[in-house]
Structure formats: C-alpha cells, structure tokens
C-alpha cells in the first residue's frame, strides 16, 4: 500500500471517529438500549446471566461491554467508546473491502466516506448497538478472506473474526457458510481431502470455538455441553416467536418492522424534543434515502458486471448483501431499521462501484460531483442523528413525514 493511500485511510478513520465521538458524553445518562446493555455486561461477567438484555443473543457483547467499562469507567465514555471505535474501524474496513472488490481507490473512497457519514451508522455508533461492532468483526473477516492469497494464517485470522461476529449476533451465519463454500470452491479445493479438511477445520471449527467460548461465564452457572446445545436450539426457536406485540409499545422502531422497505422508501424513527418555537434536539434513526435508494440498482449492475467478467471478487458485495438481507426478509419475526447496518458496507461498495463505472464512461469529473453531493446530504442529516440543538425549519419536511416520537419542551 502506498503512502498516499495510508494517508487517505487515516483521514477516513479520523473523519469517522470525529463524527461519532463529537459530544459523545451527551446525553450523560444511559439512553435507550444502554439501560439494558450496560448493566447486562457486568451481570454476565459476574453472574453468567444475561439480564436485562435478551438471553437469545450470543454474549460476546457483554464481555466487550465489561471490558470497556473497566477501561473507561461506568460513564458515557465507558458505555459508548466500544461502538465509536468499532464504528470508525468499520469505515476503514469498508474502504479496504471496496478496494479489493473494485481494484481502484475511487469506489473504495466513496464507499468508505458514505459509511463514515451515514446518519444511521453514526447514531448507532454513538450508543451500544451490537450491529456496529458485530458488523466490524464481520467486515474484518471478509477483508482478511479477500486478502488471504493462500496464506493459512490469514484464513485462520478471518475465521477468528467471523467467530467474533457470530458470537455477537446470528445475522452472520448465512455469509459465514457462504465464505466457507467459496473457500472450498476456490481452485477446486474440495477435490483435495487435505485442503478441504484444512478449510473445514479452520473456517468452521475456529468460529464455533469462539462462539462457544463466549458462553464461558454462562457455563459457570453449572451447565454442561449438552445443555448448551439445547440452549442454542431453544434460543433459535425463541427468536422465531417474537412478534411486534411482544415489544414494549414505546419502542421507537415499531412503526417499521419489515426489511423490505429499507432501500426503497424513507424511514425515520427515533425521538426528539422541540425547544422553544424554532429549535429542537433529535436522535433519529433513518435511512439516507437519496443514497440508499441507489443500492438495489447498484447491486443489479454489479451482478451483471461480475457475471460478464466472470469475477467472484466483483460479485462478492452482491453475494454478501443478499446473503444477509435474505435472512431479514425471510424471518418470521419483525426486523427493524437498525438491522440494516451490517448491510451498509456492501451497499455502499456496490454504489461506489456503480458510480465509478458510470462516471468513468460518461465524465470522470462527475464522480467528484456525486461524492460531494452524497457527502453533503449525509452531513446535512448529521445533526438529526446526534442530538444537536438545531433550527427546525431546514428539517421541517423530514420531521413532518417521520414516525419519530416528538415532544415539546
């Protein structure tokens, strides 16, 4: 990697980190899911129990939470630094992923900048959502897979990060198996018994070890391994029983519970307060529709390009995007907008590739126009995601159309 590119990556990290870190101690009380996630970290470490978080989700989240509480203390930094750091790292990993897919810096830069400034990714990076660090582990696994070039230790490292993703949330199971199959398919590895066993042992056993290992504190309650298998099976069945009426009616995400609408219509949920006649503070979870709406066309275009060029590498964002998205569409339980976060690196990579491809054919300068326009739009939304005290007028139409819970001070 050349020096210029290292500088780009450092700047990207600083941009992502700055946008996520700025005024992170506000609010200075536990907000939203933090009220469950923070005490659950300590409860799991000390007692092996999941309360007040859901018991169905894997517990690496609690171990990380406890670690950050020890590092930064039981204060807003301790609660939030984990997501800020992993959120910023995800932007760099998105750059690297898109770089490997496209082979060029332009698509990679666009993908990285879009994630760094995406209002949904930012707001989730400022609290304790597990999609941020789980997604970062997942991306790290994918990037290492892309770069392995036959190096065993990179496959093992990729498998380790995949295990961390799986130990955070179940979202990543389809793509874990997909990468395993791609490794077997590569150079027809499945035809050599030794190589096939190597891939199976590293890419299945290492993630499984990390996943099981994350339950170490749960075992402490007296459980044996057969009970663990039963527990995981029951967790899977329990997740299928979730229905919108099972959630707290005050939950801000409830108004949109279908994954089908994420990339085709505007979704704005969350909460906010109008202060005086013309100002307000808002923490909104929204899809940045002018950017997100390009996702599906970009996926189609990338799929066509990958097919024409017979390139699995180029089709990887499409495979990973739909590998995960199909899970959200297929499950019986409600899926809320925050679950879209792990899809964004693949969506933005596809958009980056599409923009680069199209502007390369029409007019290369258009690339900069698209980059600046998308960046400007995301930054315009930034105050709405981060509880900044803003004038309401420029956002009036967004707020009027939103499903956010808005109060008047």
């Amino acid at each position: 990697m050349k020096r210029n590119e290292i500088i780009i990556i450092c700047l990207l990290f600083l941009l992502a980190f700055g946008l996520r870190f700025y005024e992170i101690s506000y609010p200075d009380f536990k907000w939203g899911d933090e009220m469950a996630h923070v005490p659950a970290g300590t409860n799991y470490w000390l007692n092996g129990q999941f309360e007040p978080d859901n018991w169905e989700h894997p517990p690496l989240r609690h171990i990380l939470m406890y670690g950050f509480l020890q590092l930064f203390g039981d204060n807003p930094y301790g609660w939030r630094m984990r997501n800020i750091l992993f959120g910023a790292a995800a932007c760099v990993l998105t750059y690297l992923f898109a770089r490997n897919v496209s082979g060029g810096r332009k698509a990679a830069l666009l993908a990285g900048v879009l994630l760094a400034t995406d209002p949904l990714h930012i707001v989730m990076s400022r609290y304790t959502f597990e999609e941020i660090y789980g997604g970062a582990f997942f991306l790290a696994a994918i990037v290492l897979y892309q770069r392995h070039a036959g190096r065993s230790w990179l496959i093992a490292a990729s498998a380790f990060f995949m295990g961390c993703a799986l130990a955070t949330k179940w979202y990543y199971v389809p793509c874990w198996l997909l990468i395993y199959l791609l490794l077997l398919r590569e150079n027809r590895n499945y035809r050599s018994l030794g190589t096939a066993f190597f891939i199976t042992a590293t890419y299945l056993f290492i993630p499984a070890s990390v996943f099981i290992g994350s339950y170490y504190f749960w075992f402490m309650r007296g459980y044996a391994f057969p009970e663990f298998l039963q527990f995981i099976q029951d967790a899977y069945f329990s997740l299928q029983t979730y229905r919108p009426e099972n959630y707290n009616p005050e939950m801000v995400f409830l108004s949109h519970s279908s994954a089908l609408e994420w990339f085709i219509r505007s979704i704005t949920v969350g909460q906010g307060t109008f202060i005086g006649a013309d100002r307000g503070e808002f923490i909104l979870y929204m899809n940045s529709l002018p950017v997100w709406i390009a996702t599906l066309p970009a996926m189609v275009m990338l799929a066509v390009l990958a097919q024409r060029r017979k390139s699995v590498e180029l089709g990887l964002p499409v495979l990973l995007f739909f590998g995960t998205y199909s899970l959200f569409i297929g499950v019986k339980r409600p899926t809320f907008i925050y679950s879209a976060a792990p899809l964004l690196p693949f969506a933005f990579t596809a958009i980056g590739c599409m923009v680069t491809e199209v502007t390369g054919r029409v007019n290369a300068r258009l690339y900069h126009l698209v980059l600046v326009t998308m960046l400007a739009w995301n930054l315009y939304l930034y105050p709405l995601a981060t509880a900044k005290n803003v004038p309401v007028a420029p956002y009036r139409y967004l707020l009027d159309e939103s499903d956010a819970k808005l109060f008047r001070q």
Binding site: N47, P52, N187, G222
Partner: protein, 193 residues
C-alpha cells in the same frame, strides 16, 4: 497452496475440542451438592433458600411443585434484589443456586396452564406428551411438565413442594416412581398448617 495445513487443521480441531471440554468441565465443576439426603419442612418459602444456602448448593436443577414462580427480572427491583416471600425461585436463580427448573403442572390443569398469559412456550419437548420449554429473562431453562410426563432425571435434584398446591406424599411418591433422587427436599407447609 496452503502452508502447514495439517498443523493448522489439527490446531483448529484441538481448539474446538478444548473449548468444549473446558466449558463442560467449568460448568459441571460449579455444581454443588449436599452430602446425604434430607427432607426439611419450612413455614415460609424464603426459609427454603436458607436451607440451600447453608448446604452450599449451587448450579442445580429444581423440581418445583408449586404455583407459577414469580419472575420479574433483576432490574425491576430497587437496588440489589432481596429475598422475599414471593421470589424464592427468582432469587435463587440470581444467586445461581438453580440452573434449570422443572415446573410441575397437575395433569388436569395442563390445558389451562397453556392458555395462561404468563405461559410463554418456546417449543414442545420432543418425546414428552405434556412438556414444553419455557424461558425466563435470565435464559434459565424452565420446563413446564405434568407428573405423568416427568422423565427420569439422572442427576440429583433439589425439590420444593408447596403443600398448599401439591400433596407432599404424592409428590415424593412420584419422584420415587420416576427414579429421581434429591439431596434436599423442602416442604412448605403454609396456610393449611
């Protein structure tokens, strides 16, 4: 193409086996049993916890002959949870005395039990005519089951019988018939006494 693939394969396999073995051992080593067997009668439910605490039992299966236990969650208490008359089972879960619960429902009440709003069934248990998996907030496996469907349990269990709800003699006979042994059986003789 891959270097040292045999070594990596063996290392990954050994890692998985080690993690399973360590987890399993870590779990079973945290179970604490009471030497001998005893049956204790108490006049208030919270005294059952005192018996278990004195005997130092931990990580145990409880066979519960009682009404549906109070399960509100640790964080619905003001401060640290305290042992109260109504929260024996939940408090014992918080203290990791109980890791698994068999909640006995009389056969004649089974259909009503399944209709109760507090009964959140995850799935029926394969091979049992009247047995369902239920879970509380802590992820504690709770099995709702009738006396006729109660299987043989190979490990020694804790038994708690509320004699207002179940006849203690019949409950103990049931356990004997099923070959279930207990190191501590607590019989709560409440208002009837």
């Amino acid at each position: 193409m891959y270097r040292h693939k045999t070594a990596w394969s063996l290392a990954a396999t050994a890692l998985l086996i080690a993690v399973i073995a360590v987890g399993n051992d870590h779990g079973t080593r945290h179970r604490r049993f009471s030497p001998g067997r005893e049956t204790v009668t108490v006049d208030s439910p919270e005294k059952a916890y005192d018996v278990w605490r004195r005997k130092g039992v931990k990580g145990r299966t409880l066979v519960l002959f009682d009404r549906y236990p109070h399960m509100h969650g640790r964080f619905n208490y003001q401060g640290e949870p305290r042992l109260e008359r109504s929260n024996l089972v939940e408090y014992s879960i918080f203290q990791n005395v109980i890791r698994k619960l068999y909640f006995i429902v009389p056969d004649e009440n089974w259909k009503d039990f399944l209709q109760q709003p507090t009964t959140k069934v995850i799935k029926p248990i394969a091979g049992l005519e009247r047995g369902v998996s239920l879970y509380d907030l802590n992820g504690l496996p709770m099995i709702g089951i009738t006396p006729s469907s109660l299987p043989h349990l190979p490990e020694q269990v804790l038994v708690y019988i509320n004699s207002d709800v179940f006849d203690a003699k019949q409950a103990q006979d049931l356990l004997t018939r099923k070959g279930i042994s207990s190191d501590i059986t607590v019989i709560y003789q409440g208002s009837r006494q």
